[in-house]
Subunit: 166 residues, 2 copies
């Protein structure tokens, strides 16, 4: 697994990084389009997960990022954050995206990454509690692709659903 | 260019079909992810355009359609309908998606297609008129991936912007 240069936030939990890398192996093995996009782990901590791609396999006819790649990477970063958090809490779930709102704000002319986090700061415990009680829960995440100046070039707000397998 | 089995609506305009096939060649040549998805023309008439993909390169870890492929195909069908309509009216524009709302309603377990059309029935003439006057115009499209029973398995509503190159 190729590791992209990390984001400038500190990852001190080596177990977390190892688990995130394992998840990325899984994603690349199981989702052909993620492999075609050349998705790799950019960075993660307990609240955020970021995935990166090179531009060439994700470019459009104008030479900037293809809208499908932008929305796919943001959706995948959100999915991965939910999946990783569940695995770390010993939960075996099917996780899927229910709906999303996407804004394409600026063209992206180079390699890019998408960072996902929960919209509400304390959303994870209620999400896990609901899952424990009902076997099913949903959480709303915010994802963005930063542009070169750090302002968002694309944003996504999405609801993800987790459903226990057993 | 592989042509998928056509949709059950009548295409009587061979020029239109030829132009749509040329556009699909362009898409596959210029957008690597569209080639990785194995996007092909499914059907088109003057109001609708439909693109199809096989499931295997667009599957997720559960063996059904990857959310990124669903949203990418719907976005691409919308983009292609705008691009094709502009080319047929002699317009040379950059076309890009500005924003979208996506709903994932049912898992898709086989090959799938996405059909795009304008939300308002008479939207194209005002769109082209605005483009003629201002050199820039936007149009709202509705796209959907039908499930096996014909009910939508995924839907997208998106605004596309066209901007004259010259």
């Amino acid at each position: 697994m190729r590791l992209c240069p990390p984001l400038p936030y500190t990852v001190t939990d080596t177990d977390l990084t190892t688990q995130a890398e394992q998840l990325l192996h899984f994603i690349r093995d199981e989702i052909p389009l993620a492999r075609a996009m050349d998705v790799c782990l950019h960075a993660c901590d307990t609240e955020r997960l970021s995935l990166a791609v090179p531009l060439p396999p994700n470019a459009n006819d104008k030479g900037c990022a293809f809208g499908g790649s932008l929305v796919s990477l943001m959706t995948l970063a959100g999915w991965a954050l939910v999946e990783l958090t569940l695995r770390r809490h010993g939960e075996d779930c099917d996780v899927y995206v229910a709906d999303s709102s996407v804004r394409y704000l600026e063209p992206v002319w180079g390699d890019f990454h998408a960072e996902a986090r929960a919209i509400e700061q304390d959303a994870w415990m209620p999400f896990l509690d609901t899952l424990a009680v009902r076997g099913r829960a949903r959480i709303e995440l915010s994802c963005q692709v930063p542009g070169p100046d750090g302002a968002p070039a694309a944003t996504l707000v999405a609801r993800f659903v987790a459903k226990r397998r057993s």
